[in-house]
């Protein structure tokens, strides 16, 4: 009888895992990472080559914040629609269509998502402040709290949690890769704690790795499946 409950749980877990079976979600995440790196790079250029006029600096900084936020939302929507379109043409004819239940965040609409984004931003600032306080108190080597290292660990935790919840081994492997990439970047060029360059390098490397992982998964999926009309 315990076997029946295990089979039920497995069937339900496989259904949640199905969204990631074709690798498209990883490709999308990789693209978003690369776009994120580009946005941070533009900010870095502005910071290192500021215009002379303080007003111009202020306008450009505000403009960058708006473009970064708007660009992220826009790219996110474009990528999301592209994933859905490719799934309609490639995945669903091969292995079937699934519509997932709406989460409370999705049901809340744009206002809800903005509130969620705001809460996430505040939380990240609080975490950064807490980390800085820890850094001052513990006096670890600078690389431990470099941005690349912190990003590597945070993204690693998210990937590991997702992989563990869905029982997707490659996400857990990518979690380890994320931490390793952050550590290698931090150690290879010991930076000041807020060195943005290493953050950009992390986004580019991790974005490329995620995209490559997604492409490999997609190729494997295409080889193992056929459109339902074919025998």
């Amino acid at each position: 009888m315990a076997l029946i409950t295990d089979k039920l749980e497995t069937a339900m877990r496989r259904t949640h895992r199905y969204w990631y079976e074709d690798g498209l979600a990883e490709i999308a995440a990789g693209i978003l990472f690369l776009v994120g790196g580009l946005i941070v790079f533009v900010g870095y250029l502005l910071a290192t080559h500021p215009p002379e006029s303080p007003l111009a600096v202020l306008v450009l900084a505000l403009g960058l914040i708006v473009v970064a936020w708007g660009g992220t939302v826009l790219v996110g929507r474009v990528v999301s629609r592209a994933v859905t379109a490719v799934k309609s043409r490639v995945t669903y004819p091969r292995t079937g269509y699934v519509a997932y239940r709406s989460t409370p965040a999705k049901r809340s609409g744009l206002a809800g998502r903005l509130a969620l984004a705001g809460a996430a931003f505040v939380l990240s600032m609080v975490l950064s402040g807490a980390l800085s306080a820890v850094a001052v108190a513990l006096r670890p080597p600078d690389w431990v709290f470099s941005m690349a290292m912190v990003q590597g660990v945070v993204i690693g935790i998210v990937l590991f949690g997702l992989g563990r919840r869905l029982h997707v081994t490659r996400f857990q492997v990518l979690a380890g890769v994320s931490v390793l990439v952050g550590m290698v970047i931090a150690l290879s060029d010991p930076p000041a704690v807020l060195d943005v360059r290493n953050s950009i390098i992390y986004f580019v490397i991790m974005g490329s790795i995620l995209t490559a992982s997604g492409l490999i998964t997609l190729v494997r999926y295409l080889r193992q499946t056929k459109p339902a009309g074919e025998v």
């Binding site: 009888m1 315990a2 029946i4 259904t15 669903y92 292995t95 079937g96 269509y97 997932y100």
Partner: protein, 107 residues
Amino acid sequence: MADDFRSLLDADRVIHEPARLIITAILYSVESADFLYLLRETGLTKGNLSSHLSKLEEAGYVQIEKTFVGKIPRTLCRLTEAGRAAFEDYRARLKRAVDSMPQADEP
């Protein structure tokens, strides 16, 4: 422990059948799924799956909608509220019965 086991005797026979149990478990996790996905996940034949879905539909547990995506037909299945409640009840009974079972080395 005896009561927990006896409660299985009153379990919903429509859902109790293993193939239908897996079908409702899959549909419980999602908003809807199409026939092709259910076919692949359950490993049933087309005829077998159709038969089980019909039984679930007759019981009011599954709603079946035949649509088109472009020119390609798609049969969408979703669990009704009654179907969700029935699955939750069955799952709770099963869990109680399993939890009340002694370990292999216990009397």
